[in-house]
Symmetry: C2
Subunit: 335 residues, 2 copies
């Protein structure tokens, strides 16, 4: 049978992985094929390769049109990846990739915003509820074999201050609403949102922090948010306040936070992020009283790669239709 049209060359897609990441975060050929079966019309236009820790050769890298995952030697992209038109970062937070001076011009750079909100909502519901119930104190009592009743008042009607109102922050705000809390969000613009009872700007933080029963950090880590809750502002937190961080450790001063956890003037903190991850066994943070540490799992579903690949295929459809892609990173803002 004669061909009726010239066959279009397939798009070369490279899945770039890090061996340091857990198996759940690995973009294997098997996982890609499973996603491809859900998007057959798009998938048949692709040719896929998989690599680890930047082991793709220069010869191969030259031919790549789309890359999912950012390789460790980012300078190679500008120097070698001449065909690359779309680079997708499989994380929402790209702060570890800043500054973006390595990014080739005219490349579309996207992140994984949208894949984290639902899980963030679940985590924040847990974290706020356990802080309100004074569970960190009860867990210490359990270790000490001590039965001491601590009763908490109603959670409904308390105030949560949610810093950031993007995908992750939106999940946090929804969680707070699920629990019957009043939500005050803090965003760069201060623009009103249906997710919050009130949206304020960072400049209003000094007045808002002393009113919050819970402070939930959910903003991206940028020059504007780094050390946002510094030692002075940690001092503004009211007695019995609970802290949740599902953003980055850089947003809050850990030294003064731990001092207030040790002296018992806060209900506790639930931190999913640390300055150094994995947190070394020798770190003093492990043993800080009233501190619950979780290993950076707050916003990632066990089916994270599935959710990521489905969102990626949806964006691929937009690329092929020459529509603007979702989750494009603004190099100037850094998110």
């Amino acid at each position: 049978m004669p061909r009726t049209a010239p066959r279009r060359a397939k798009l070369r897609v490279h899945l770039e992985n890090s061996r340091k990441k857990p198996a759940e975060k690995e973009y294997t050929l098997a996982r890609f094929k499973a996603a491809a079966r859900r998007h057959p019309a798009l998938a048949k236009q692709l040719e896929v390769s998989v690599g680890y820790d930047g082991d793709i050769t220069d010869d191969e890298l030259k031919k790549i049109d789309i890359m999912l995952g950012v390789p460790p030697d980012r300078a190679r992209l500008k120097a070698v990846a001449m065909r690359l038109k779309w680079l997708h970062c499989t994380m929402a937070g790209i702060d570890s990739l800043l500054p973006l001076d390595w990014l080739p011009e005219k490349i579309i750079f996207t992140n994984n915003v949208g894949v984290h909100g639902a899980k963030a909502r679940e985590y924040v519901r847990m974290a706020v509820a356990l802080l309100h119930t004074r569970l960190p104190h009860m867990l210490a009592n359990q270790r000490a074999h001590k039965w001491q009743q601590i009763f908490s008042p109603a959670l409904t009607g308390r105030t949560a201050l949610v810093i950031g109102l993007g995908d992750v922050g939106g999940g946090a705000a929804r969680a707070a609403r699920d629990l019957g809390l009043k939500v005050i969000a803090v965003t760069r613009s201060g623009k009103a949102s249906s997710l919050a009872d009130r949206v304020a700007r960072p400049s209003q933080l000094d007045r808002l922090l002393p009113k919050a029963d819970f402070v939930i950090l959910a903003a991206p880590n940028t020059a504007a948010t780094r050390d946002l809750i510094d030692a002075r502002r940690v001092g503004l937190l009211k007695t019995g306040c609970g802290i949740v961080n599902i953003s980055r450790a850089a947003l809050i001063d850990h030294g003064s936070l731990c001092a207030r956890l040790r002296d018992g003037s806060l209900a506790g903190a639930v931190l999913d992020v640390m300055h150094s991850e994995p947190l070394p066994a020798t770190s003093p943070y492990w043993d800080v009283p009233n501190l619950v540490i979780t290993p950076h799992i707050s916003c990632d579903d066990a089916d994270y790669t599935t959710l990521t690949l489905d969102a990626w295929f949806a964006n691929l459809a937009r690329l092929l239709a020459k529509k603007p892609l979702r989750n494009r990173i603004d190099p100037a803002r850094g998110y």
Copy 2:
């Protein structure tokens, strides 16, 4: 000014306390007066006394019309309290008072159902969320200074089996719904309820237990519920199931439960109730892996006495209006 009507004698109310209970559960004169200010018309008809551990004298007990709290020497009620017409138990669970052979005839006996539901809802949201997130495992890792990422799939759509659907069980069912779970309730009658997707009878438990992602015990402790989840039924729980008990320890076999917590075949258990309370420091339960013990605080608000007294005043209004009281205990059922 001449009296237009003979002044009615005031009703004598006695507030009976136990020194073993925490200060938050004490019915002091100050707390009663604060409640009285919220119900002035009713309060002016009352004369109030306060006692501890049954220290009221026979002379005084003879004159009491209404008692809030059950004294330790319950036999004295039949023998001495000749005017007593209403006895109110300030707990929801009256299993420690069974059998009710000490109860004088024709006395109205009520319990504190209705005061626990909102708090039970908060607690169950916390407990289910933390079990789903595998927090017991992460807490053990934190103690061992170990960073190990464990990712959980979406919580939405999983199945909670809620045993009991009264005040406390209703709170548990609402909590499960808040988290997006499918709710199967088990009640004596099996009658449909808007709080659950399905209501089953206890006879169906063997088929339901293997399907449950979470089992939440929230039924009263009666002859019918004692050892309801016995060793055989603990064996029916599916791998990764999470257990929450906010009812009484007698409902579930602790030996086989702890065996399954030790071998890691359950996600964990959050138990708010123990056979012996306060749990002695020498108890082996404190150290069972994947077990979170809270000190019987799941259903009690820090403002418990306020909520209790307001509900009690509402019932007093019904008594004075000769309407049937709420929360009357059926001596035959035992709740």
